[in-house]
């Protein structure tokens, strides 16, 4: 029995030795075979390149796991765009306040004449105020989305701000396209008299619009108003195009396209908003008898002489000044056919 056991052990050893001789020992396994996703997760962690894969979802960028430019955009938006936008608004408001303190309210030199001249038709005023209302709603909701995080979270809390921001976004998205109609209509009604007159406009600019000294001659619209008109039209067009691209992301826009147009939209809108502060101030509180012009359509004849003397010379013969207190027929009723 012992002999049999011993023989079996010897045979097994011999077989084992032969097997080892026929099959040389392999190298120890590579680390990658132990953790097959290591490369992928290293890419995910490092975020220095787009990580793409395969997917059944058919949309631009659907195969990108980590969009590196998105993180760069987020950092740019949080660290540069938002602070710079806030600073631009604060600086412009400060300049307006400074101007008010230095120059005060600018009164009519000769007071009111008691006579008035038709300056804007009803259609022109409706177009102006429709654009102004939409601009205000879009500006407020846009600023809420851009800067609200800094100012509203401390007041309403994170959840409250979430609700406000969601509401602002929907309002902004749905009212945005209406602004296209309003701005286009405004452009059509006002473009004719805003075509630059290089000589007169340059002189007006060189004299600073007459705000700090000698009188500056001006036609129906002075160079400052023309600059605002063309800025609002051109930058407004940029806001509209970029806004439509952002509003309707169903035409194959990629993430980088959306980021670019988001950048254009924000910058252009901030430019419009800060310049509009100047327009609003000049049109309301800065100059005596100015706000009523866009309110009623009529301007005082002394106002016309002081601020738009070249235009006054043109219309004083064709337009009969009328007593201010007398009830007047609606200006739009007379001119609506040529301005609608």
């Amino acid at each position: 029995m012992r002999v049999h056991t011993l023989l079996m052990m010897v045979c097994l050893l011999l077989v084992g030795f032969q097997l080892q001789a026929a099959d040389p020992p392999s190298k120890p396994p590579e680390l990658s075979s132990i953790a097959p996703g290591a490369e992928l997760w290293r890419d995910v962690r490092q975020r220095d390149q787009d990580v793409t894969g395969t997917t059944q979802v058919r949309s631009p960028g659907a195969d990108v796991l980590i969009n590196v430019s998105g993180q760069a955009w987020r950092e740019y938006r949080m660290q540069e765009l938002i602070p710079l936008s806030g600073a631009a608004i604060a600086i412009v408001l400060f300049v307006i306040l400074l101007f008010r303190l230095v120059r005060g309210r600018i009164m009519l030199e000769n007071g009111r004449s008691g006579l008035r001249i038709l300056r804007f038709t009803t259609n022109q005023r409706v177009a102006h105020w429709a654009t102004a209302i939409l601009f205000s709603i879009l500006g407020l909701t846009g600023l809420t989305l851009l800067l609200g995080r800094s100012f509203l979270i401390p007041v309403f809390g994170a959840e409250g701000f979430g609700t406000i921001a969601a509401g602002a976004k929907f309002l902004h998205d749905y009212l945005g396209p209406v602004f296209v109609f309003a701005l286009t209509w405004l452009f059509v009604l006002f473009v004719r008299d805003n075509i630059p007159s290089p000589k007169v406009d340059l002189q007006w600019l060189l004299k600073g619009g007459g705000l700090f000294g000698k009188h500056a001659h001006a036609p129906r619209y002075n160079a400052g108003e023309k600059l605002w008109f063309w800025l609002a039209s051109i930058v407004g067009l940029a806001v509209i195009i970029s806004g439509l691209v952002l509003d309707f992301p169903i035409f194959g826009q990629t993430r980088s396209t959306m980021e670019f147009y988001h950048w254009v939209h924000s910058i252009a809108a901030i430019v419009l908003i800060v310049v509009s502060f100047g327009h609003i101030y000049m049109g309301t509180a800065a100059l005596e008898a100015t706000f009523e012009v866009m309110q009623t359509g009529y301007c005082d004849s002394n106002w016309a002489k002081e601020h738009h003397d070249l235009w006054y010379d043109e219309v004083k013969d064709s337009e009969e000044p009328v007593p201010q207190q007398q009830a007047q027929p609606d200006p739009g009723a007379r001119q609506s056919t040529d301005s609608a």
């Binding site: 005023r125 429709a130 609700t163 309002l171 056919t337």
Partner: protein, 213 residues
């Protein structure tokens, strides 16, 4: 508590005020004592009524250029609002689940966006025209302004309510709708129900007398 109030008692109260108020106003008009016309008819009253109902959809050629803004703004607003009210998906679902028990195919999202643009721009144009035109401003009443502003607020909150995940925004929209429903029967907004009978009555009167207007 607020949610319970808006979705419960206030909703049923506003619905009751709206339905009873509208029926009461219509009954007042229908059963108003009208003098019997003893004159010999020179034309068809019913023909005049039908003609007037449809001919008033287009302004007279003589005044059309002067009221172009009202016509364009009016059609934009009313068609846009009609489409939003009866064919926007959230409204169709609401009517089906809370009022009628049946629904219909809502309009696609692109049509919803177009209708919203028309309604908003039209209402802004009409209200500004009312404010900035000397004659319109003179003949406008407080009721006209309240009705326009309330309708605008309901449309604005409707935009906010599109964020379905934010319950407070939905409640805000429902609340403003309830305010509008309570105000509706006692205001100029009743023209939504009375403009056809009013045209028909005037047209019948004209038709019977042979007036071509």
């Amino acid at each position: 508590m607020i949610e319970y109030l808006i979705k419960g008692p206030l909703w049923y109260f506003s619905l009751a005020v709206f339905c009873i108020g509208v029926l009461w106003q219509l009954a007042r008009i229908i059963f108003a004592a009208a003098k019997t016309d003893l004159s010999v008819a020179r034309g068809s009253a019913s023909g005049g009524a039908w003609r007037n109902v449809f001919s008033r959809f287009v302004p007279h050629r003589e005044i059309a250029p002067r009221i172009r803004l009202q016509v364009i703004g009016g059609y934009m607003f009313h068609l846009g609002l009609f489409a939003l009210l009866f064919f926007a998906a959230p409204h169709v679902h609401f009517l089906e689940n809370h009022l009628l028990g049946f629904g219909w195919t809502p309009m696609p999202h692109w049509a919803f966006i177009v209708a919203a643009q028309f309604a908003f721009f039209g209402l802004i144009l009409l209200w500004l025209r009312r404010m900035l035109n000397a004659v319109s401003r003179l003949i406008s009443t407080t009721d006209d302004h309240i009705a326009a502003i309330l309708t605008f607020v309901v449309m604005l909150t409707g935009c906010l309510a599109l964020g379905q995940g934010f319950h407070a925004l939905n409640l805000l929209h429902l609340f403003t709708v309830e305010l509008l429903m309570i105000y509706f029967p006692f205001s100029c907004l009743m023209h939504a129900f009375t403009f056809i009978p009013s045209r028909a009555f005037t047209g019948a009167w004209f038709g019977r007398r042979g007036i071509d207007a």
